[in-house]
């Protein structure tokens, strides 16, 4: 009986052994202790990110009294304005993601070919950082100062070319929104894509050239395939970014409920219709589902397109 305990160290010895062996995790207690230190982070993310998401998901299927119902979802599909808002938002996100990704990739290429420590690159990166993440409302005002009713271009054309008041209502339509979104989509693409372009090694180009390849062969067989996964990833991020945007559209067309995000905001701000409190949550759930679908699609393509990635 006493003999059998000899091989097993007394529990009090265990903590002392831990630090000496670094991260080896010499006991089950110790290992569990390692996870305990991560609790604050998980608790916080759980409370302020996962819980709200769960509230949305559950709320979409319940009445305000907590009973299960499909009425909220039904209301989304039955209301033309809701369906239209999804269509407009998706259209806007797709178009501006494509524009942003293509123009942003070209801009990144033009910037990368310069001196990596040069002022041009640092200027462009800093400016794009501001436009991509800081903008929203303020970008809209800058845009209106350019092409709004009293904008610089509008007045210039009126005073010097047409001499009559121009119809600038297109600025406040989908066309205007697309132009406006380009002001943060292109910079965001640059920020996201620049590191991938930096990762293209000069040796690959040299090797391709020495084997007889010109610029076209390099981009087609080497550069293109290598960049494809990150380009695709950036495209997805741009889609999500535009699809989730609210401030910009709200500042341009403040009475509008044209986009899904604006529809949701309208629902939040006018929770008056009895029995329909949770329609906003159903709309929000719709957004989550669309973004999640795109993400899964992306993950699938990514896995197929990049077998060579570690």
């Amino acid at each position: 009986m006493t003999v059998s305990t000899v091989g097993v160290p007394a529990p009090s010895e265990l903590p002392a052994a831990g630090p000496a062996f670094g991260g080896a995790g010499s006991s089950r207690f110790k290992r569990a202790g390692n996870y305990v230190a991560l609790i604050p982070f998980h608790a916080y993310v759980g409370l302020f990110l996962l819980f709200p998401t769960l509230v949305v998901a559950i709320g979409a299927f319940t009445t305000n009294k907590g009973q299960l119902t499909l009425d909220n979802i039904g209301a989304v599909f039955a209301t033309k304005a809701f369906i239209d808002s999804f269509a407009v938002s998706i259209q806007l996100a797709v178009v501006t993601a494509l524009i942003g990704a293509i123009l942003g990739a070209l801009l990144s290429w033009a910037v990368v070919r310069g001196n990596p420590n040069g002022a041009l690159r640092q200027l462009v990166v800093a400016a794009c950082g501001v436009l991509a993440q800081f903008g929203g409302v303020m970008l809209t005002f800058a845009f209106l100062a350019f092409v709004g009713y009293e904008g610089m271009l509008t007045l210039f054309i009126r005073d010097n070319i047409t001499h009559t008041r121009m119809d600038m209502s297109w600025v406040y339509s989908l066309t205007g929104l697309i132009m406006l979104y380009a002001y943060f989509q292109i910079p965001l693409m640059l920020i996201v894509f620049l590191p991938s372009l930096d990762g293209l090694r000069q040796e690959w180009y040299d090797a391709s050239a020495s084997l007889g390849g010109g610029a076209w062969s390099f981009w087609r067989h080497v550069g293109g395939p290598i960049l494809a996964p990150s380009f695709l990833g950036a495209l997805l991020l741009l889609f999500t970014n535009a699809f989730s945007a609210y401030a910009t559209a709200q500042a341009l067309i403040s009475q509008g409920c044209g986009l899904v995000t604006q529809q949701i905001a309208c629902q939040i701000q006018s929770e008056v219709m009895i029995g329909r409190e949770n329609v906003g949550k159903a709309l929000a759930l719709g957004m989550i589902i669309i973004v999640a679908t795109v993400m899964l699609l992306y993950a699938y393509i990514q896995r197929r397109a990049s077998r060579w990635v570690k």
Binding site: D206, A207, H221
Partner: protein
């Protein structure tokens, strides 16, 4: 500059390569300062020098990756100076990470053939032959990240050889590998090069590598060729101070010279041509040319002894506290311990001298 006339190392596909008076400036830096070399068909020339001496610039110029500001490059008698890289038909192996990460070993090797419009079947056959040549036929379907550094460089070599290039350019291909793989791979590269008979320019900063692989070794410094000669000659009869100091381990021992002979440690030995200093100088003596004998009333003292397998190296302090390293067969080192008094002498091999 050329001490011996180049002789072909092997008969094969090799073509002659000539650098004529090449100059290259990067801003104010003169990276190539009138470099002229002629390489015989099938010969392997190793360019050796400290980083920034211009050796890589010379290689890139031959490969067409960099242009020269002045001078000509002849390959097989034809002037290729203005020809772009992708029309030069040179096989280049880079330092590391040059394999296309999105292609398997086989696809990497057949890339050049694909660009030449070779059909898929012939491409596959050639790729497999070439991979077999470097001993990697079984790894053909692996991606670069699934291979070790040594394997990656073998694939890079196969890729360069698959297009049957006129010249093979090796730009420090071993420098990112660890010592053992390095030694193994350098012997293999040399074996393949001789077998294929291809003219090769090999750039390195590792003198052991250069001396082991080159038919001739060119030592470069500050954009100029200091000396180009067979390895033995370079080691035993350096023509400039830079070469004498850069190649091999060297002691500096106080000496006196009259311009033809030199007195070192009480012995009179011949002076190598090219040393211009006179009077009190320092002689550059190889460790294996220093003889150490234990002597009770010797004026020098052994400081430390280290065994390197078959060889043995002893650090000895002269009366004036100059430290000299001597190297001998391990069997000749008996009686040498730290603190022992010894006599030093130098072998009668010609030496180079430098001013104090």
């Amino acid at each position: 500059m050329t001490a011996t006339t180049p002789e072909p190392a092997a008969s094969g596909l090799g073509v002659a390569v000539v650098f004529e008076e090449m100059h290259r400036w990067y801003g104010p830096v003169h990276a190539l300062d009138g470099l002229s070399i002629s390489i015989a068909p099938g010969e392997l020339i190793a360019l050796l020098g400290p980083s920034g001496c211009g050796k890589t610039t010379a290689l890139r110029a031959l490969g067409g990756l960099d242009e020269v500001d002045h001078g000509r490059i002849l390959v097989g008698g034809k002037d290729v100076t203005g020809v772009p890289t992708n029309k030069r038909n040179m096989g280049i192996v880079f330092q590391s990470y040059s394999l296309f990460p999105n292609m398997t070993a086989r696809d990497n090797v057949s890339y050049g053939l694909r660009l030449r419009g070779v059909d898929a079947k012939a491409r596959k056959k050639k790729a497999e032959e070439t991979l077999d040549l470097v001993g990697l036929a079984v790894q053909a379907d692996r991606y670069p990240h699934q291979m070790s550094g040594g394997q990656q460089q073998r694939v890079a070599l196969a890729r360069a050889l698959a297009i049957e290039p006129s010249v093979l350019l090796l730009d420090e291909p071993l420098s990112a590998l660890d010592a053992k793989v390095r030694r193994q791979l350098r012997e293999e590269i040399r074996r393949i090069q001789i077998m294929v008979g291809i003219t090769t320019l090999f750039v390195t900063h590792d003198q052991e590598e250069a001396l082991a692989m080159g038919d001739r070794v060119g030592v470069m410094s500050a954009g100029r060729l200091e000396q180009i000669a067979a390895p033995v000659e370079l080691y035993e009869r350096p023509q400039t101070r830079f070469v004498a100091e850069f190649v091999g381990l060297t002691n500096r021992i106080p000496a006196k010279t009259d311009g033809t002979d030199v007195d070192v440690l009480g012995r009179r030995i011949p002076l190598l041509p090219g040393a211009s200093d006179r009077g009190v100088v320092q002689a550059l003596v190889r460790p294996e040319n220093v003889r150490v004998t234990p002597a009770e009333n010797g004026s020098s003292r052994v400081l430390a002894v280290s065994f390197l397998g078959a060889l043995c190296r002893a650090q000895v302090a002269l009366p004036d506290e100059t430290i000299v390293v001597a190297q001998m067969a391990a069997s000749e080192s008996s009686g040498l311990y730290p603190g022992v008094a010894v006599d030093l002498a130098v072998a009668p091999a010609p030496v180079f001298v430098v001013a104090n």
